[in-house]
Amino acid sequence: MSEEVFVRTEGDALTMRIIERLGERQRKLDAMAAWERPARSIALRPLLAALAVAACLAITFVVVAPWKKTVSPWDELGLEKPSVEYLRTAAPDLAEIQQLIAAQNYDVAILKTEQALQLSDRELSILTDALVGNDDEMLLYEEELEQLNNSQLRWTYIYLLVQSEEYALARMELKKYLKWRDCPHRNEAKALLKKLK
């Protein structure tokens, strides 16, 4: 058999069966890609329009906004806004909180985050209790997801507490946040805790 290019007549029965199934798999992938094309282009139209409006607004804010020059507690402490990129397992609540933050509706955002965090803490505690002496795969998975969700909610809460200059509470939440070994902003959280002390 050639090493450079495969010659079909040289393949044995098993190879030919594998090729046939690889082809069938490819047919399905191609079909799915084709079905996505029109759906995507239609679905993208409002999204593109929204993006264009958002871009215009952003430019207006950058150029015109007079309050831009004031320094926020976030700037002082070097804290970046939680981004959607790391919110891999976020609950719908967090999406709403993100929107509230984007709209600078911080008072409602902080209330919403507190509520969601309380629910998540409770859920996490139930799952942790259920896992005592139990290694059920599904429960472990649920707990893992809830832990991620909880951590993301808490990080957003800390961000909002800093904005409200509630530093004592932020310190307390940071300590809770750092308790989870895998928290995604460990270094940032440690640095922030140091600054707030």
Binding site: F6, R21, L22
Partner: protein
């Protein structure tokens, strides 16, 4: 029943899971497309608890859908006496106690879990046998099942168990008949050298053949 939701819901025909499985088993392309969009709508509406970038979400959906579609086409999931059944690893068919879309979501969740844990699940079968089948609903094992069909199913499952990189290289070389240089060009950022690619291609094919052979022997095929 899987139905269209939203503004156009009333205008679109709805199909039962039994109709979907029957039509997909006969490779009805119109139904394939309809089922894809219906499943996608359901997934978009119900997979909100885990959102991240759109491409990953789409990738998880397509992998899960491909797996479900392949199972139906290979008659691992089939209609028996007007009931949808799924074959277990011991060859027995049992009625499915959940809807196709629920099953799709289970596949999707497993895919997501792999993404979170960054590990490959060894077998989907064991995970779902316990979760989705009621013990009291065992139906008779179809002993006259075509050997060819069984072999096809095993090859498909072994392909699904390979890494995406391996499957891509094998598809390009064996199915699409691309030369190693062409594959290298297509995947220039993923494989540093032609020798590396050649080794990877041989390794992938040998591993796949080995896995298939073991399964064929296991089932005396």
């Amino acid at each position: 029943m899987i139905g269209a939701t939203g503004f156009f819901a009333k205008k679109q025909r709805q199909y039962t899971d039994v109709e979907v499985v029957t039509a997909l088993g006969h490779r009805d392309h119109t139904m394939e497309e309809w089922f894809y969009h219906a499943a996608k709508r359901y997934y978009d509406e119900n997979f909100n608890q885990v959102f991240f970038d759109k491409d990953r979400k789409q990738e998880i959906f397509q992998t899960a859908f491909l797996k479900l579609w392949t199972e139906i086409e290979n008659r691992r999931i089939r209609v028996m006496d007007h009931v949808i059944c799924r074959q277990q690893s011991n060859g027995q068919y049992r009625p499915m106690t959940c809807a196709l879309t629920t099953f799709l979501m289970a596949f999707a969740r497993t895919e997501f879990r792999e993404l979170v844990r960054n590990t490959k699940e060894e077998s989907y079968g064991e995970l779902f046998e316990d979760a989705t089948f009621a013990d009291s609903m065992v139906t008779s094992f179809d002993k006259e099942e075509d050997i060819n069909e069984q072999k096809t199913r095993i090859v498909d499952e072994c392909i699904q168990g390979m890494s995406p990189t391996c499957v891509e290289i094998l598809t390009l070389f064996y199915y699409q008949g691309k030369k190693l240089d062409e594959i290298l060009e297509l995947r220039k950022d993923k494989n540093a050298s032609k020798n590396g690619l050649k080794t990877a291609k041989n390794k992938c094919m040998n591993t796949l053949r080995e896995r298939i052979t073991v399964q064929f022997e296991r089932f005396h095929l």
